[in-house]
């Protein structure tokens, strides 16, 4: 197969960047999108050019590194698929394919298709942890949990932190990511002690990173390679409003006389 690849080239974070078009030929339909980019890079290097920088790690759909917007959709046109699991047979022979980095102020472009997603790490650091003691581990079944709840927590935990939700969102909002993290820990008994603190500080960090606001488009869920549901955004809203409006701000506060 033959493709015309229109790809974003940007030398560094300060460069303004522009699109370049390249032609790749003799690509088998069973080549993955990343392998096609590898072939393009070999071709570019042979001709004395700079290879296109892109992130990739596991190449089996679980690490969330292969972030790129392909023809206007995060991780390309196939639902529930990361770029590494996208094959060239999903495209028309001779097609022009536009490849761009995630576009979000909170995810600055480092080079070409590589963006800095450490904003997600900082949201995680703000509250994405549970308290465990470092001594001998308790017998696992000593903490009872309903299987349905455990499964629901696992649905949220299947988030690989790739950032497709931010890339897909017309507002570049990180609500789906944050809600998945808040929910997967908050649903489990192990995560309960930090529940209130977690939602407040993770939301505060998210706001501080410069992500947009959620307008309930549902675009994030549609383009999430792990199909995380926007129901977790509803849960996050509820947790946040509960912690902010209903829970006591100071549980040890005094009742003053009139």
């Amino acid at each position: 197969m033959k493709f015309n690849i229109k790809v974003w080239r940007q030398a560094n974070s300060k460069d303004s960047g522009k699109f370049e078009s390249y032609t790749v030929d003799n690509i088998s339909g069973d080549t993955s999108f990343l392998e096609m980019l590898d072939a393009l890079n070999i071709q570019l290097t042979k001709n004395g050019g700079d290879p296109v920088a892109f992130d990739s790690d596991c190449r089996e759909g679980v690490c969330g590194m292969c972030s790129m917007v392909i023809d206007g959709q995060a991780h390309g046109p196939k639902p529930a698929t990361t770029t590494c699991q996208l094959y060239m047979r999903h495209f028309q022979d001779g097609a022009e394919i536009t490849v761009e980095p995630w576009r979000a102020t909170a995810f600055p472009v480092v080079r070409d298709l590589v963006v800095d997603r450490s904003a997600f790490d900082r949201i995680m650091q703000a509250g994405g942890y549970v308290t465990v003691h470092s001594g001998p581990k308790p017998e696992p079944n000593s903490i009872p949990i309903e299987p349905e709840v455990a499964e629901e927590a696992l649905d949220a935990a299947s988030c690989i932190g790739c950032g497709a939700c931010v890339a897909a969102c017309p507002n570049a909002s990180a609500m789906l990511y944050t809600s998945a993290k808040v929910s997967h820990l908050g649903l489990l008994p192990q995560g309960d002690p930090e529940r209130k603190h977690r939602v407040l500080s993770m939301v505060e960090q998210m706001e501080g990173e410069g992500f947009g606001s959620c307008r309930n488009y549902g675009e994030c869920e549609a383009q999430c390679p792990k199909e995380i549901s926007i129901k977790f955004i509803g849960m996050l809203n509820r947790e946040y409003l509960q912690a902010n409006l209903l829970d006591q701000a100071n549980p040890r506060g005094k009742m003053s006389p009139q």
Binding site: E100, G212, R215, Y217, R238
Partner: protein
């Protein structure tokens, strides 16, 4: 208070305000359409000194008296107006701030963009919302203050409506504006439940349907009024008055006939 301030600092808190003020305005619209549909009711006796009058005029007069004698005259009306005005102001301020935050969150647009889920009404919320602001101003000037003249008379709602909707341009303007209201609510009504954290997969279908039914229902209800006037289903106000007089005269004739017999 500091908690309210910190709530307002976050986009989630601003959206909470947008959702709650949205509920207030939806409540108003439901009451408004119910009042409008009174043009289809037969005339009522407005009491001594007023005589027979269109039901909607009677209702408009009643709106000024709600809460009496506990509250002074028009106190409830003004309270409701202030709550609505406050809701609109808060709604608009929060939405502008949220929108500013969102446009700052993506400074470089995508060269190619495909939406998989975001519906057009959801993507047009800022446009439909801005258009509604204009509509509210024109609508108040038109049918509350009578600023566009014609035969506008305060308190004569039926007469004013009849006057306005004899003009095809006003009919088109109102039908179009109500269409924009419906588009705004089609996304907004569901969205507010998600923002308040009420939605979940069990309720999602019901809430989405409710939003569709409410937006279509309000559209039909509001559009019924201009349609009734322009098609002649709703009769001219003098027709109501003269027919009442005729009916009254018939009664008198009947009484006279009885006396003769």
């Amino acid at each position: 208070m500091s908690r309210l301030a910190s709530l307002y600092q976050s986009s989630l808190g601003k959206k909470f305000i947008v959702a709650v003020t949205g509920i207030v305005m939806i409540g108003f619209l439901v009451g408004h359409v119910a009042g409008n549909l009174k043009i289809f009711l037969p005339p009522v006796d407005g009491g001594p000194g007023v005589g027979m009058q269109p039901d909607i005029d009677y209702y408009a007069h009643y709106l000024r008296e709600i809460g009496e004698p506990l509250l002074p005259a028009t106190a409830f009306l003004w309270g409701a107006r202030l709550v609505l005005l406050g809701s609109i102001i808060l709604h608009v301020i929060c939405v502008i701030q949220l929108s500013t935050q969102s446009s700052a969150a993506r400074k470089t647009a995508y060269a190619s963009r495909k939406y998989s889920r975001a519906t057009p009404p959801a993507r047009w919320m800022m446009y439909t919302g801005s258009a509604l602001m204009l509509f509210i101003v024109v609508h108040l000037l038109h049918l509350t203050f009578g600023a566009f003249g014609g035969g506008f008379e305060h308190g004569k709602v039926y007469h004013n409506l009849y006057d306005a909707f004899n003009n095809v341009l006003w009919v088109v303007f109102y039908v179009g504006s109500i269409g924009i209201v419906a588009l705004h609510l089609y996304h907004g009504v569901w969205s507010l439940f998600q923002t308040l954290g009420f939605d979940n997969p069990d309720r999602n279908r019901g809430l989405r349907r409710m939003a569709a039914v409410l937006s279509v229902g309000l559209f039909v209800g509001f559009v019924a009024v201009p349609t009734a006037f322009i098609t002649g289903i709703a009769k001219a106000p003098d027709h109501i008055e003269s027919s009442e007089i005729a009916a009254h005269q018939q009664d008198e004739n009947a009484v006279e006939n009885e006396e003769k017999e």
